[in-house]
Symmetry: C2
């Protein structure tokens, strides 16, 4: 279960970004990854914590470690190209850590896009990939439009049903920043109203009630009771709209790629017998192929300025672009260090002790 | 204003699909379109009514006619290719009817995809394009993944603001059907909880109240009062999620293409002085480039079967895939004719009289 998110206030331990990255690297070296692959997972997990997306940072190490020990994640995957063209490819992820596979898949999409304008890469035999925004931003950092989608084990139902049939199937879309505004615009969301972790956090804080649009109980009825919701069904954004989007993403990442889809995907936490077998569908599109990149930069600055200036006269709330808050958190933490909650810190201590790593070296 | 949708029950006139198509064709010939372009708009508008999407069928003729008469829509557009590569293109729509431009843009994307696996086409200087599902299905009918997006005049605010800054920015994604299940799966939605037409319909039916997640009043507060909502701000699906998606689509269809974006887009109904200048961002991706199409067809059938069988044991509701209901309506109406409401019929009578067309010939 995801146990943390940005809302938690019990932050107690501060660690420098580079130290956190080194700690994660050392953990995955001990877990038998190749140095080049350990570097990838260390970059991606530390980046999530840097951006305040704690559910997808070091919080994921315990479950990855457990799945590695159970041979459900392959520490030395051999990625295979199953189908290839100048602008598309289908890969077999060989059950490697999702982040390692995801990084390589988007790198391939970017190389194709650099050469031919577009790169589209599908992956089968994948695992949980963490925050998709990372992969989308790999493309936007190269002045490309980046799109990253993956499918997950079922946690939502079709409208009218109470049977879980599609995952929250997250996706991320990133576009390059401007000259005046330095942050890439990146949308990184799932098709559910909220993540299950939000319900878990409510319970952990001792709250009995949640808003009634978060989840259905197991009978398919709206519930405000957190304990009912946790064993219930997550609600899609916009009813049939979020359901439909989750279905489409299952088709892109699962049906097209030859990965598992629907009930065929095994749960990262809930199934410690089967490999996950989820899929990825990534795109990188070179902006300069559609419009001169310098012109784009001026136009995106103008767009951002316009949105930022739509602040309401009735309150004092700043207006944000998608990904702007995370960028600011990252800037701050890059210099000031990353605060980790008691929960995350304890997990790291436990894992480090097991692996014979001296934790105090890093803090 | 959009005045009709599938919910309206006052259907009184029945017209055969081919007759409706011919009537629309004759109207647009009288409005000075080339026969080839009149054929395109007739196909697309009649298809919307066939599928039960009455807001985007003949209901749109009065406003298109008005905009043509005011020289805000160009009846003889000369589409120009501004930028071109084997897999991408940027077009200037020359302010033609959105449907004519949209059809040609997706046709170009499909040609590129047939040859090179992928086709991505952006359009500037566009107009309202109608139901985006049509364009996405042009691709899915060719065994391609089809994606169609457009941006619209602002009707939603950023979270915390009460200033309209982004449109509902609709998008459609279609994938090919299987062997057992004949319908393409097509998601065709906007980023708002509901269309403004739904609020207008509530008022027309004499309902004073609407659900409180449809709209904010002009001060940015949730409202259940339909009359307040109509002059207020539409709510995005999933709060910051739908807002973020609308921002991204504005960037794809507007910022990248060189079309207008944000407040720069003029309203189809609300501004009869300026051209709309919205944009399009269309994609067609050949499935066979990623996975053998025959294998895909088997897999999509299995996926559909799995979803259809997730019917709840607690009620008798059938579970639908995105676009399945519309496909069934279309099948039925293709044989049994299309029922048009009194409102739509009166509009057609008015227009036909003005243009010297004998309406009774078609009914």
């Amino acid at each position: 279960m995801e146990r943390m998110n940005m809302e938690d206030k019990e932050e107690i331990k501060n660690i420098k970004f580079d130290s956190l990255k080194k700690l994660i690297y050392d953990i995955f070296i001990k877990l038998n990854l190749l140095p080049s692959d350990a570097k990838i997972i260390a970059n991606i997990l530390s980046n999530a914590d840097l951006r305040g997306i704690h559910t997808h940072g070091v919080a994921k190490i315990p479950i990855y470690k457990k799945r590695i020990e159970l041979n459900l994640i392959n520490t030395k995957p051999q990625l295979k190209v199953l189908k290839n063209s100048s602008v598309t490819a289908l890969l077999d992820g060989d059950f490697g850590l999702g982040q390692v596979t995801g990084y390589k898949a988007m790198s391939l999409a970017i190389r194709k896009s650099e050469k031919n304008g577009v790169g589209i890469v599908g992956v089968r035999n994948g695992q949980h990939v963490g925050a998709l925004g990372y992969y989308a931003m790999m493309a936007s950092n190269k002045n490309m439009l980046g799109i990253a989608t993956t499918n997950a084990s079922p946690s939502m139902a079709a409208p009218g049903s109470n049977i879980k049939i599609v995952g929250v199937n997250p996706f991320a879309i990133a576009v390059p920043s401007g000259i005046e505004y330095k942050f890439p615009i990146v949308l990184d969301i799932a098709c559910s109203q909220v993540a299950k972790s939000k319900i878990i956090n409510s319970i952990r804080r001792g709250e009995k009630n949640i808003p009634d649009n978060w989840a259905l109980n197991s009978k398919g009825r709206h519930t405000k009771i957190a304990e009912e919701a946790i064993n219930g069904i997550l609600m899609p954004i916009g009813g049939h709209k979020g359901y439909g989007l989750a279905v489409i993403i299952d088709i892109l990442a699962g049906v097209i790629t030859g990965a598992a889809f629907g009930k065929g995907i095994s749960s990262n936490y809930g199934d410690l017998i089967n490999k996950q077998r989820n899929g990825l569908f990534f795109m990188a599109i070179k902006i300069d192929n559609l419009t001169n990149i310098a012109v784009y930069k001026k136009r995106i600055d103008r767009f951002i300025r316009e949105i930022k200036s739509s602040r309401s006269s009735l309150n004092d709330e700043e207006v944000f672009l998608p990904g702007e808050k995370e960028y600011r958190i990252a800037e701050e933490r890059y210099h000031g260090g990353i605060s980790l909650s008691n929960y995350l810190y304890k997990d790291l201590v436990l894992i480090s002790t097991e692996l014979g790593i001296e934790m105090q070296k890093y803090f």
